[in-house]
Symmetry: C2
Subunit: 338 residues, 2 copies
């Protein structure tokens, strides 16, 4: 990108952002300006760093743009709100291909469009490695946001979708198993491809999050760092414990296919991936027992799978007979991990 | 910081962010939540990267936190609005000292307090080099924001403060001239110190920006990339040109002291620094001639120096007899520059 310089590249990016409707300012001025999307705002930010959060060996620019958008939107979804406006900051080395930036912007734009978010500005910097930051504004549905702190003893503990898929996808991608010739086992090929996409192209649960706010979820968090860590966060914030049975954890079915193939390239335990894998961006929430049936059928109507994981208690936070605190290094720890 | 890990460090940072008033959510949940600060929102982001935007040889964590906050606030000031809520993202290597993070948070918090901004959240990542991203929400004063596009032929062209000080400070810092024993020239010592502070601790012109919106400035931009680049941006956005006399450019007086000392460590031309230096974060604006007297006395009452730089025209954008387009590599270009 060095040949185009910053202004040339900003022009390319600006052309993709488009112009807002009359009375709004998107890219091209000092800041974006637009009518407030609601009385109660939501505001969050997330960063993805090359070599830590993604690897260019198996992530295209499109994947990075899409994922940066959706992981940040997921924070808004976990509050029961809807995201409306985003600004992005891209840092990259001068030797980066312009095609990468175009591909990134395409993924970012499509990711934003998929959840109704307007990309209203951004910033470009030079750096030794690629990193991307997304900041998002959104609003609640008139009601208060669903916090992490509202779980009460006796509430049901539930989760959307299946867990461990993103971790499985990382396994597939790191070992180059994606797209490898598998004529002997087309089921494995298809499972590997789906897992890889779970890792590269997560989808924030915006509709489910809004529905859960309306349906009266008492506490909610998105699973970004793994069930063990995020369940612990939810219970700590609420000042409660929980009892979850390992058999009730909704393990991503494709992980069983992968494990069953007993590849010489390393075995990934499906339950372990589901418990500690992270980056599934499913919603983990508590809700009064009396509301569980209505919630399950309401979410089911929109095609969202929900699993009853267990119960909020006044005791310690347990999965089976194991305390959540007993996992030594569960999930991602961005400063320690590799 | 590796010993504390992400959660330990987030706890340290969270303790510094504090809790919002009742009904608001700051750090500690998936996103910040707060009442919208106005009907018309402003939203912007900025990034600072180690080795590109700052150098740890002469920037302390405090400086980086303060500056990241103020350069982002400056975008809101240049729209004539006031900033209200910020989220920060800090990326750093695992070997970073915890003391650096504490110092950074101190500078960030004090910078935020100095302009009435609430730090309501943040994100922490591991990376090979340090970088910091700030995203800011603010609001206009009920009126529309002051855009870059409103300058019209005949309007006066003005700028707050003096220019080139930040560039002079960088010169002082890079050459290790700050704090060097100068008993022979205490005037130079004092000037060097002030210049260094101009570079390390800029102050966004929030009050002046709000006043200029009320007083009817027709177009406005903050000088982040140097007068030549930012004047060109203002004129291009407005579809106008301008005539500015070099003698009218308010050169930072301390630059003359530095230049007069004829140091063997390299000469910095004061006018060149004022024209192309960048990072002064002064406000460059156009305003109807009939409003200039009232504007000058109003800003003067609050202690803000204003200079009449020239006039908006229908012709080319000129400083003296030189076209703004004739500067080859003016100011900063983050992707090309070093």
């Amino acid at each position: 990108v060095a040949r185009d310089g910053e202004s040339g590249l900003l022009d390319r990016i600006g052309a993709r952002l488009g112009h807002g409707p009359a009375g709004e300012v998107w890219a091209g001025d000092d800041a974006a300006a637009f009518p407030s999307p609601g009385a109660q705002l939501l505001f969050t930010t997330d960063t993805m760093v090359e070599g830590v959060d993604f690897d260019l060996d198996y992530c295209a620019g499109y994947d990075i743009g899409w994922k940066a958008l959706h992981i940040t939107v997921s924070d808004i979804a976990a509050m029961g709100g809807h995201p409306t406006h985003a600004v992005s900051s891209l840092s990259l080395p001068a030797h980066t291909e312009v095609a990468f930036v175009d591909d990134f912007m395409e993924g970012l734009s499509r990711g934003a469009a998929s959840v109704g978010v307007h990309l209203v500005g951004g910033d470009l910097s030079r750096a030794d490695t690629i990193s991307v930051n997304l900041a998002l504004v959104g609003a609640t549905e008139g009601s208060a946001p669903v916090l992490r702190s509202g779980a009460r003893s006796g509430h049901a503990l539930c989760v959307t979708g299946h867990l461990g898929g993103s971790r499985g996808g990382l396994h597939v991608l790191k070992r180059g198993l994606r797209g490898r010739d598998r004529d002997v086992d087309s089921r494995l090929t298809a499972a590997s491809e789906r897992l890889a996409r779970r890792h590269l192209r997560p989808t924030a649960r915006v509709r489910a999050g809004r529905a859960l706010a309306r349906l009266g979820a008492s506490a909610m968090i998105d699973i970004s760092d793994g069930l063990v860590i995020d369940l612990n966060r939810l219970m700590s914030a609420s000042g409660t414990g929980c009892q979850v049975e390992p058999a009730d954890v909704p393990v991503e079915p494709d992980l069983e296919v992968l494990a069953g193939a007993s590849l010489k390239d390393g075995f990934l335990d499906p339950l372990d991936a589901a418990l500690t894998g992270g980056e599934d961006f499913e919603l983990l929430f508590s809700i009064d027992q009396s509301l569980v049936d209505e919630m399950t059928s309401s979410l089911g109507e929109t095609g969202t799978h929900v699993t009853l994981l267990g119960t909020v208690t006044e005791g310690a936070s347990m999965i089976g007979e194991r305390s959540l605190d007993s996992w030594e290094e569960p999930g991602w720890d961005h400063l320690r991990g590799g």
